[in-house]
Every structure is written in structure tokens, then in C-alpha cells.
Point group: C2
């Protein structure tokens, strides 16, 4: 195989040659050039961290069905009582800070005939956007809401590959419900590899599926490269409150053992899997994420890992999960600060909403999720595009609307520059008071890059908009995703690797009877 | 009349007795309890401020048609050359910082039979939300887009009065196009007084209309009270670039002379009324706003005044104005820091959008405007609710959707509290790992105030939502505004004052022939 470079050229400097819009170039990942927001003062952060350590010392965390994890904790000096593990204050923090990489590179595959490689940096001031993950359903305006299929899955991989504003292919973008449960992971990993060259995530739903995901990466990148470099992520949810079930902790350890990055994500809805008060829920999320991160370092010191956050609220009227509300926004900001103090890469939710369709609610809740994720310093933003209905649905129209929003955020994260050109004293000399800048030399020299050129925002006059059919944004988005999908071409893959992957898949599939649950 | 107290009780502690929702109480204004966001470093702010001063020194600002303003500048030591005024670096800043109040109270009228008074603080960490301003058109789902009428105007005053999340009645919420141009201001000011007790804004479109607006306040509050307290605001746009036309500067001086607050707002679309590069446009906006603020202090030292910002971008494809884009978001943040350094109350745009209807685009752009306004430290947020189509349209559905979003922002701006209850160690002791918090004592004790209870977000299951008609948010909003409007009752007004106001209005109206342009 044609191996990517282990240390790629700085990815933000690489420009997408196929871009058609002049205003802003799409980088392989985004580098935040504006500061994070200091939402909490140090004393508030101290209290939250101390509370997390008190939870770990007094209540502890249970590891159910994974004796090897209990052994690792015992050897590390934690107090193991049955499946319950308790930790002296400071112990978990110490394990994390001793060996956890502050930042790492995840590699995308090589493209035959191109030297462009989609490596992403994760951690520090890097920001990586990935599509939504895990929905059983999909939605588009024409066909409505339905179970996801492998075709839908491939469609989203393809659109993600074509979008300049997503850096990462994600994982289970939607469930391909038409493929047997025990074989899906093979088709999903293969689709990520075949139809995209952006980095991706593997399976976590059973130990052998995790191993298959990693094995396919060994075929793709070479076993030695995989042992030395991160090429796949695995998303590990805790079973909140305060439990790691064996399937999850084994998948976590399998990724770490292979020197691949687990994303450790407490999934907490305040009032259900955690306290209803946001401060307490943050402390719990911090405790759970820290324990998971620490376990990766016991399994393989120095393994890449991402500290994750998925904390939201619920409706006080119905108990239904709610997204994009002010309480999780505050949690995003606070958890961002806690992760930054700990010195670990942070995953945070992206464009979340409880809405069923890409309406005003969806956009408002998504923006109210994305702002605190970005200002909180999130490095890996899963669910950045497509998410609807609390994660039950992957939406086609929502996907392209979110992508356009992510493009705007690229511009925001680049910040302002100050130099003679941007400060424009020459323009003020050229244009007299009361005159306009429309055709002045400074405007002509700068207008192609001055403003983000939104794909889906309609800025026409009312009459133009009316005469074009009075279409709201979700209708315009339908046209857009169809065009995006139609524009897809597979990035060229070495035929020998392709054949080896297919061979692996077929052998695996033939070795098992179909399982549908 | 029953005078309001000159120094009201701290308004955030007053609770709305008529509230029906338990989750959060509506204050007469919002106090920001979270920090502002340090978007730019001090050196960037220094460069912007220095650039503004260079513009004022080298290019200057023109005052056209207002000799008294030129006289004031001449006496203050500025260089007056025809209508062009130039300023030594530091001169304008010095005038501002010498006498401008950092914060002031604007009073709402008394309500007969109630001691609740809607005084708002403007400046410091206070935040005041007001509806959108100035649109000739209105839109609702049933009747579509049409010219605004006095009935529409009254409807929005009434809904603003009923909304717990708007603190201020605003000004020209929409143009009552069915009333003669030269008489509209009388009906608008009267409607604000009659149908609401929240503070409001007066006319600026002609000197006599400004005077009438202030005179009606003298009838309402008493002349002596008005001379000593702020009871009305006037929104003054500069004629960017770098011009104050006489109508505006005379209105500005009239408000200041009466000890009322002008809101000085450069209206700049980058590439048209200012440079296409955002840094240059910010410097220009800062220069123009500073000059306007300084002029109020020459007219009457110590007069309340608000430094305003209305900077946006344009479509590079069509030249049409765009809103909610990343460049104005950065400008909001930077200008917030500049105003804070200057020590003046800041007005910033609120829920802005170019969209024609309350769709995904509208919500996304509005959120992307509101976040930087709030994190930038804006004190008076005009256009917080209802704005559509770049300000050409006041939307009924958009209004209530925005109000719900403002409610969320109340929760966000309150920040997190840390105490034994919110940190919830007792809840962790009560609930074992793997159990749920739904019915635990801590949840029961806290659930009514834990989360913002959104009016218009649908968090039901897909099936419930489908069976209720598959309504997107804007359809739900239609029902909501009709209910809000139907719930309106006028706050009781002293009949003697009412009669005096009507008498003033009628005499004024009879003194003029109708003018329709």
C-alpha cells in the first residue's frame, strides 16, 4: 500500500484543490485561532473537580463483566470491592496526566494518484467536525422518516466526503438496519474506506466487531503503521450513573491496546442518569470520563484517547430528553474548562436538537449547542451535522444546513486579523464621508475573501424569493443534498487493498449466521 | 400622577406575580452573572481604537445641516472645516470618559393599583431585551406579508408587555403605515404608554416629533421627574460613512438636552457603508459611535447615552445585506470589548436574519447574532424579537420563537451556582450506580427550577408529534402568538394622565394637515 506520511504537513495549510468557492478554503481540520471562553472562575472549576474526586472516592464506579479491567485497577492501587472500584482523591488525575497525549494525529487513508491526505489533529487548538452518530432512522423531505439502510449510510459517507466543512467521516452515521446486526460493522467500515478518505470510527458493540474494525485498518494502513499511529476511533459510552458495562470497557481497552483512540463519553440526561442540578451532573460526567480515560492509560500508557461529554437535560413536563437548552450549554462550557485543565483532547456534542424536522427549533437548538462546544474548546465535535429528534434520526436536509453552519464557524474560528489591509486606512482615504465603498479599490481587492458565502441562506429580495417559490431553508436544503450526493466520486483506493478488504469481509460474513438483534 | 420611585428596588429580585411557569421568574431586566468573552487581546483592541482615532483625526466626520452641533464641536476644541469636523487623537475619548454615565436607569410608568414598576438598568452587567424596530412590513402565517398598520403596532406592544422575556417596549416596532407620517409618532408613543408599562423609545424622524415624544413623557411622569430621570430613548443612526445628518444630530441633541438617552448607532454594511474588511469596519463603527456619544456630553454633560452597534455584512454574489454571519459575530464581540473599555452602555443587535420566514435560516442567523451580542456584553439589545428579512419585516411567529429563545438566555446568563444542593453529593449517596435519579429526593426537591421549560420546543416522541399534525416550530408559534395576544390586558393607567395624553395628541393632530411621505 501507499502509506500516508506519519507526520503529515500542517493540515491547515493544505488547500482543497477541488474547491469551487473562492471565499474560504477548506482545511483538513480547523485550527481555533480565537481564545476559549472563561465561563467559570478557577474556584468553580476547583469545586467541580473536587466533587468528581469525592464521587470517585466515596461512591466509586462499577466495572461489570470485565475482570481484566478490575485487575488493571487493582494493580494500579485502586480499591476494588466486587465490581465496585473506588479511587483515592488525585489518583485518577495522576494516572491521566502521567501518560495521556495532549494531542494526537488521526490518519485518513492514502488516495491513489493524489498526495492529499486527510490527517486530522485532535487536541490543543485543533477542531474536527464529524457527522452525527448512531441513529436508527433517517429522514428526508421526499421519503419521510424511515429506518436507515446501507444505502443511506453510504449516502452520508459520500456527502461527508464531499463537504468541505466536515473533516472526519464519523462512525455509525445511521444504522444500516437492512444488514444483519452482527455484520453491519464490516459494511460500515468498508463504506468509510471505499467512499471517503477522511478518518473514521469503528465498531464498539461487541469485542469481535471492535477487533474486525481494527483489523480492516491493518489491511488498509499496514499492521506496523497501525501499531504506531492512530487510524481509527471507537466511541465508548458509560452506562451512567457510574457504570462501565463489559462490552464498553472491553472495546475501550481493545482500542487502547491497538494504540487507537477510545472516545469516552458519559451519556447523562440530568434528572435521569445524573442529578437534576447541572453542577452535580457535570461533576458526575467529569468523574466518569476521567475513569475511562485513565483505564486506557492502564491498558496501554500513551495510547491516544478523547475525553467525551454528552450531558443534556430533560423536559420537566414529560421527562423526554431535551437538547440545545441553556443548562447543557453551560455544561459544555464548564466541561471544556475541566478538560483543558486536565490536558486531554475533548469531544463535545455538535448540532443537537429534539426537533423532528429541520425547522426553526432544530436550527436554534443546534446553534445553541455548537456555540458552547466551540467556545468551550471542544476538539472533536461528533454530531456536527445531520442530527434530529434527539439522535433517533439522521436528516438529509439537516445535514447540509448544518454543514453550511459549520462553514460559518470556520470563519468565526479564524478570528480577525489586523494589518494595514484589514484596517483599511487607505479605503477611508479613497472614499469620502457619505460615499460608498462598493466599487472602491480596497473592496475590489478584498471582496472575494471578506465574507463567508453561505450556501443555503437566502439573502435575495422578498420578490425574488417569492418568485422562486417562497421556499423555506429546508426546501432549499433538499435540492442541495441531492446535488452534493450527485457530485460524489470515490477517492481512488489501491485495488490490491480494496480486494484484500473485500476478501476479509466476505470471509467474516461467511463465518457467521445472520443475527438480526 | 403616581410617580415611580426614582431608585427602584433591585429589579432582578422582583418576581412577576402573574407568572404561570414555575421554572424561572421573569425579572424587569436581566443581570448577566457570567463573564464576558475576551475575544480580542488588548493589543488588538489597542489597534482598533487607535485606528478609530486616526480616522477621526485624518478624515473626520461631517455634520450636515446642524450648525449648533458644529458650534459645540468648535467650542470643545475640535477642528471644524465647513461641515467636516476633525479631532485630535484622544479628544473624543476624553470627552466621553469625563461625564458619560457608565450605567443609568430608564423608568417605566406607574401602574394604578400595583407597586410593580418596570425600571430597567442600562449598562454594567445589566441586559435589556427589546423587540425589533423600524420595519415597514409585518408577516404572519395566515395573512402573509403586508404593510404594517397601527393595529399591528398595538399588537406587538401588547405581546411585548405580556412576554416575560422582553424588558422594554422598544420604539417603532413596525411602521403604522395607515397613519399619516407626521402623526404616527403620537399614536406610537401613546400605544406604548397605554398598552404597556415597560419603558419605551420615542421618535427621531423630525425635531418636532422628538419634542412631542418627550413632551408626552412629561405629561406621563411629570416635567421635573423627566428632567432628573431617563424615561425615554431615541435611536439615532449615523449616515455612514462618517456623516451625521441634521435630523439625526438634532434629535440626538434634543434627547440629551432633556436628559434622555440617545442610542447612537452607526449602520454599516461592510463593503457598502464601510470597508469590506471587518477590522476596518469595526474601527469606523467605533469612531462614529464615539463621536455621537461625545456630542451628547457636549449638549448636556452627564446625560445618559448608549453606544450602539449595527454592523453587518453583505452577500458577495448580490450585494444584498446579510445577517447572522460570522463576520458581524466577530464585530459584536470586538465592539463589546471596545465599549467596555470606554466604559459606556452598549446597544447591540439581537435576533437578526435575512430570512423571509421563521425557518431554519432565521433561527440559525438569529442565534448566531444573539450569542456574540450577549457574550460581548451588550446592555440594550434591540431587535431581540420579531426581526425578519433584514429588518424589513416584523414577524408574528418569529416574535414568539425569539421570546422563547430569550427565556433560555435568561437561564444561561444566570450561570451556574455551586453549593451542597447543586453539587448533589446527597443524590449520589441516595442513588446507587446504575440506578436512576428520576424519583429521588434530590430530583423531587429541584425539578421545578432545574431546567428552562421551553414554550415552543417540541420534545415529544415522533408519534405524538405526528399525531398532533406534524407541525414545525413556526406553525406552533402561530398558535402561541394568538394566545399571547388574547391574554393581554392593559396595565391600569391613571385616567387623568390618559385624558391629558389624548388631549395633547388630538391638539397636535388637529394642528397639522396629514402628510403621507
Amino acid at each position: 500500500m501507499s502509506e500516508p506520511e506519519a507526520t503529515p504537513a500542517p493540515a491547515t495549510r493544505q488547500r482543497n484543490r477541488s474547491r469551487t468557492r473562492p471565499a474560504i478554503a477548506a482545511p483538513t481540520f480547523l485550527r481555533r485561532q480565537i481564545p476559549t471562553y472563561s465561563f467559570l472562575q478557577p474556584d468553580g472549576l476547583d469545586r467541580l473537580h473536587a466533587q468528581a474526586e469525592q464521587i470517585l472516592a466515596e461512591i466509586g464506579v462499577e466495572f461489570r463483566g470485565d475482570d481484566e479491567a478490575l485487575d488493571l485497577w487493582r494493580k494500579a492501587g485502586a480499591k476494588v470491592d466486587g465490581v465496585r472500584v473506588r479511587f483515592e482523591p488525585g489518583h485518577v488525575t495522576e494516572i491521566i496526566q502521567k501518560t495521556t497525549p495532549k494531542t494526537f494525529i488521526q490518519h485518513g487513508r492514502a488516495q491513489l494518484g493524489s498526495d492529499r491526505q486527510h490527517a486530522v489533529e485532535i487536541g490543543g487548538d485543533a477542531v474536527v467536525f464529524a457527522p452525527a452518530y448512531g441513529s436508527p432512522f433517517v429522514y428526508d423531505r421526499e421519503k419521510g422518516r424511515r429506518y436507515g439502510s446501507l444505502e443511506d449510510f453510504k449516502n452520508f459517507v459520500k456527502m461527508t466526503w464531499m463537504s468541505p466543512w466536515l473533516h472526519h467521516s464519523g462512525g455509525t452515521i445511521c444504522e444500516p438496519v437492512d444488514v444483519p446486526v452482527n455484520k453491519r460493522h464490516l459494511d460500515m467500515v468498508y463504506a468509510h474506506i471505499k467512499h471517503s478518505a477522511k478518518p473514521f470510527m469503528g465498531s464498539v458493540t461487541a469485542p469481535e466487531r471492535t477487533e474486525d474494525s481494527i483489523e480492516m485498518c491493518r489491511i488498509l494502513f499496514g499492521a506496523d503503521f497501525v501499531d504506531k499511529n492512530c487510524v481509527i476511533l471507537g466511541n465508548i459510552n458509560t452506562n451512567s450513573p457510574l457504570i462501565f458495562d463489559g462490552v464498553m470497557s472491553m472495546a475501550l481497552r481493545a482500542y487502547a491496546r491497538a494504540n487507537q483512540a477510545a472516545v469516552v463519553v458519559p451519556f447523562i440526561l440530568g434528572g435521569a442518569m445524573g442529578p437534576v442540578t447541572t453542577a452535580g451532573a457535570i461533576a458526575q460526567a467529569h468523574a466518569e470520563a476521567m475513569v475511562g480515560v485513565a483505564l486506557t492509560q492502564l491498558e496501554r500508557p500513551g495510547a491516544p484517547v478523547i475525553y467525551g461529554n454528552f450531558l443534556s437535560s430533560m423536559s420537566l413536563r414529560s421527562g423526554a430528553p431535551t437538547f440545545g437548552m441553556p443548562e447543557p450549554a453551560m455544561a459544555y462550557l464548564a466541561i471544556g474548562q475541566l478538560a483543558q485543565r486536565l490536558g486531554v483532547p475533548l469531544r463535545c456534542g455538535g448540532s443537537l436538537t429534539a426537533s423532528k424536522v429541520a425547522d426553526s427549533q432544530a436550527a436554534q437548538e443546534s446553534a445553541d449547542s455548537l456555540w458552547p462546544a466551540l467556545l468551550g474548546g471542544a476538539n472533536f465535535i461528533l454530531h456536527a451535522a445531520g442530527w434530529l429528534e434527539g439522535g433517533l434520526v439522521m436528516g438529509y436536509e439537516k445535514f447540509v444546513l448544518d454543514c453550511d453552519h459549520l462553514g460559518m464557524m470556520h470563519k468565526l474560528m479564524a478570528g480577525l486579523t489586523f494589518d494595514d489591509n484589514t484596517l483599511a486606512m487607505g479605503a477611508f482615504r479613497e472614499v469620502e464621508p457619505g460615499k460608498h465603498f462598493l466599487g472602491c479599490a480596497h473592496t475590489m481587492a478584498n471582496y472575494t475573501t471578506a465574507f463567508y458565502d453561505a450556501d443555503l441562506a437566502d439573502n435575495d429580495s422578498f420578490e425574488q424569493w417569492r418568485d422562486a417559490g417562497s421556499r423555506p431553508a429546508d426546501e432549499r436544503a433538499e435540492k442541495k443534498w441531492r446535488a452534493l450526493l450527485a457530485s460524489h466520486t470515490d477517492p481512488a483506493l489501491d485495488p490490491a487493498i480494496d480486494e484484500a478488504l473485500l476478501d476479509f469481509m466476505n470471509r467474516k460474513k461467511q463465518s457467521m449466521a445472520d443475527a438480526w438483534y
